[in-house]
């Protein structure tokens, strides 16, 4: 029988199946962080159950960490307590932790791929919906709730009903200035935020084949924003080259053996999907969102749609936008380049290339937050830091930061923020803050101009 990439990875991990019920899926790697793990550790302790496979768990501190003065004790008492709890839980249970200040510390979905923890053909879970990021490697990776974190602690397995399969194909050549972020914002704007619910999505076609691993991660990261549990891209030479030589990746003969297996994973010719969508690369333009869910996106030169719908109108009211309005020339005071969607070195290279020799507009506060200590080090090493500082940008220390504003990095009430993060929900970046999602290029241009511009006109 012809199998999809998803089928192959899933089927290889099924321990057992309950009749008329879910399957027991074996989990290769379990990533944890400070926010969604403490209650799971407590539950195991209360029930006197040991952690079954501590060596398959990797922990980091990211959601709740400050992005300045990381060498000092964390000032917020609750945050500090949560971080201490993670350190204690990991120490007590023999779990590898990259805590604040560690050279490998970073956002869970940035540090795991860059250390070679993420490899093709794996099953990876984490108490965070953007675990879908790791699907870029041809991995089944998805976010779980804390009760499920406890299940994986106890058994290294999860009880799951196999999702349906969905394929999104994008073929053709992307236009100048169209980044992976624009591709996924475009797909979600076309399909809506619940098109993927109940499905695992495979991205296929030239556009993804020609995309870098970092771009693929950006795309898979936002699969959850169209409702899918995860997104996947078939592993290929780009994938193998990325994984090879990384700290925790297999080495030498072991690596070659793995590659031979990984090459068997791509979807068989003629395999069928429960649902399929096709798009042309030429139709995609740089995107911005105008509403309060990631599906409310338009090309930057486009206009906000006109609809008579209560939820749509509520959303526009929150954003203080009008039906039919263009966002070009809209003054913007905050720009955030960071998050597990766009805080990798390529994102900062794109931003630096645009910013070089220019100055940030005086009205803009521009935060650049690397995804990990390693990305931070690369920014310095490649001389990007100098470009940013000279242009008036603020380079902060790694963490989730203003993506979800759990730490002090909050956008003030009623302010607009052009942000490379993944969610424009009400209050996501701070109470009353208004988020406009965009690519690192559009974000950098907004910071320089102090307003949204039609970037396509500036590229030629």
């Amino acid at each position: 029988m012809k199998k999809t990439l998803f089928d192959k990875v899933w089927d290889a991990h099924v321990v057992d199946a309950i009749e008329n019920g879910p399957q027991i899926l074996y989990i290769d790697k379990h990533l944890i962080h400070e926010v969604t793990s403490p209650q799971a550790f407590n539950e195991l302790k209360d029930r006197d159950i040991p952690i079954f496979r501590p060596k398959q768990i990797v922990a980091t501190a990211d959601h709740n960490t400050p992005t300045t003065n990381q060498h000092l004790p964390v000032q917020d008492t609750l945050s500090r307590h949560q971080l201490e709890q993670l350190s204690k839980n990991c120490a007590d249970n023999g779990i590898t932790l990259f805590e604040l200040g560690h050279k490998y510390n970073g956002i869970v979905h940035v540090m795991a791929p860059e250390l070679g923890i993420t490899q093709p053909g794996m099953t990876i879970v984490c108490g965070d919906s953007h675990t879908s990021t790791h699907g870029a490697f041809g991995t089944i990776a998805f976010g779980i709730g804390t009760s499920q974190v406890a299940q994986v602690f106890a058994s290294q397995c999860l009880l799951l009903t196999k999702p349906k399969s969905l394929r999104v194909s994008v073929n053709g050549k992307l236009k100048k200035g169209v980044l992976p972020k624009d591709v996924i914002l475009y797909i979600i704007s076309k399909l809506g935020t619940n098109a993927g619910t109940g499905y695992f999505c495979e991205y296929a076609g030239d556009v993804f084949e020609n995309m870098s691993m970092e771009g693929r991660m950006t795309v898979c990261n936002m699969s959850i924003e169209m409702g899918a549990r995860g997104g996947m891209i078939a592993p290929d030479q780009t994938t193998f080259d990325y994984v090879e030589g990384r700290e925790m990746a297999p080495k030498g003969e072991e690596f070659e053996k793995k590659v031979a297996y990984w090459k068997t994973l791509p979807t068989d010719e003629g395999a069928t999907f429960d649902k399929e969508y096709f798009f042309d690369a030429e139709d995609i333009e740089p995107m911005v969102t105008y509403g309060t869910n990631p599906g409310m996106g338009i090309k930057v030169s486009g206009n906000i749609p006109t609809l008579n719908d209560v939820s749509f109108e509520k959303s526009l009211k929150y954003m203080d936008f009008k039906k039919g309005e263009s966002l070009v020339n809209k003054p913007i005071n905050y720009v955030f380049i960071g998050s597990c969607t766009n805080s990798r070195i390529e994102d900062f290279r794109v931003a630096a290339e645009y910013i070089k020799g220019k100055q940030k507009a005086p009205n803009v506060t521009a935060w650049l937050v690397p995804g990990s200590k390693l990305v931070e080090a690369q920014i310095i090493e490649e001389g990007l830091k100098d470009i940013f500082i000279e242009a008036g940008f603020e380079l902060r220390q790694p963490g989730c930061s203003a993506c979800l504003a759990m730490n002090d990095d909050k956008i003030p009430q009623n302010e607009y923020c052009v942000s490379t993060s993944n969610r424009n929900f009400e209050g996501r970046q701070g109470q009353g803050a208004r988020t406009i999602l965009a690519s690192p290029l559009v974000a950098a241009a907004t910071a320089v101009e102090g307003k949204i511009i039609d970037i396509t006109k500036h590229l030629n």
Partner: protein, 199 residues
């Protein structure tokens, strides 16, 4: 976990689509390390005005509505995987959430915390909203065993789907950890076999 069989109550209508988990419990309240107390901050930014006063227009603050059933608009629980959203709903006292569509992770989190997500047709959801807003004393009845939801004193009734395994868990108050631990031998055998096929 408490057993769930049948349940009836008045309901609170929240006729808003795409309610994401950031609205159910904003991120700034996720700093706790236990599961209790999240109900105080359920729908925090909708329940309270910016100056901290109660927003009397929000249905949870409307004294004409009471009950342990939350009836919400389409695509409820999208966004973050935070189980704190389910804990907040349970802690506030809701036992059932009704919508025409639930996000996957939220649905799983709800079931793992003894909250029953009842997915109804858009038509039935509309009928529910109409009944509750016209007569806030309307009683909604949910029967897990027969998988039905009905409006008491009317002929309006609909059946709903639930995974048979999850249904058994709720009816008996079991959870997944107990089941998985009973399968330890199979898990060990799988690990031994997987080493050979070089996963």
């Amino acid at each position: 976990m408490e057993k769930f069989t049948t349940f009836q109550s008045r309901a609170i209508p929240l006729d808003i689509e795409n309610i994401d988990t950031d609205q159910i419990i904003p991120a700034r309240f996720l700093k706790a390390t236990d599961r209790e107390g999240f109900g105080d901050n359920l729908f925090r930014d909708w329940r309270y005005q910016k100056n901290g006063d109660l927003n009397t227009e929000f249905p949870l603050n409307d004294t004409s509505y009471i009950g342990s059933i939350l009836v919400a608009g389409d695509n409820f629980g999208c966004g973050s995987s935070r189980e704190h959203a389910a804990w907040a709903i349970a802690d506030y006292g809701f036992k059932v959430v009704v919508s025409s569509f639930f996000a996957d992770i939220f649905k799983g989190n709800a079931l793992n915390n003894g909250i029953l997500p009842v997915q109804v047709s858009p038509e039935f959801l509309k009928i529910l909203f109409n009944h509750i807003t016209n007569s806030p004393e309307t009683i909604i009845s949910v029967n897990l065993e027969h998988q039905t939801i009905s409006i008491k004193g009317t002929d309006f009734s609909e059946s709903f789907e639930i995974d048979p395994y999850k249904k058994t868990c709720l009816l008996n108050g079991y959870d997944d950890i107990d089941y998985l631990l009973s399968k330890k031998e199979d898990i060990l055998a799988f690990e031994a076999k997987s080493e050979q096929i070089a996963l």
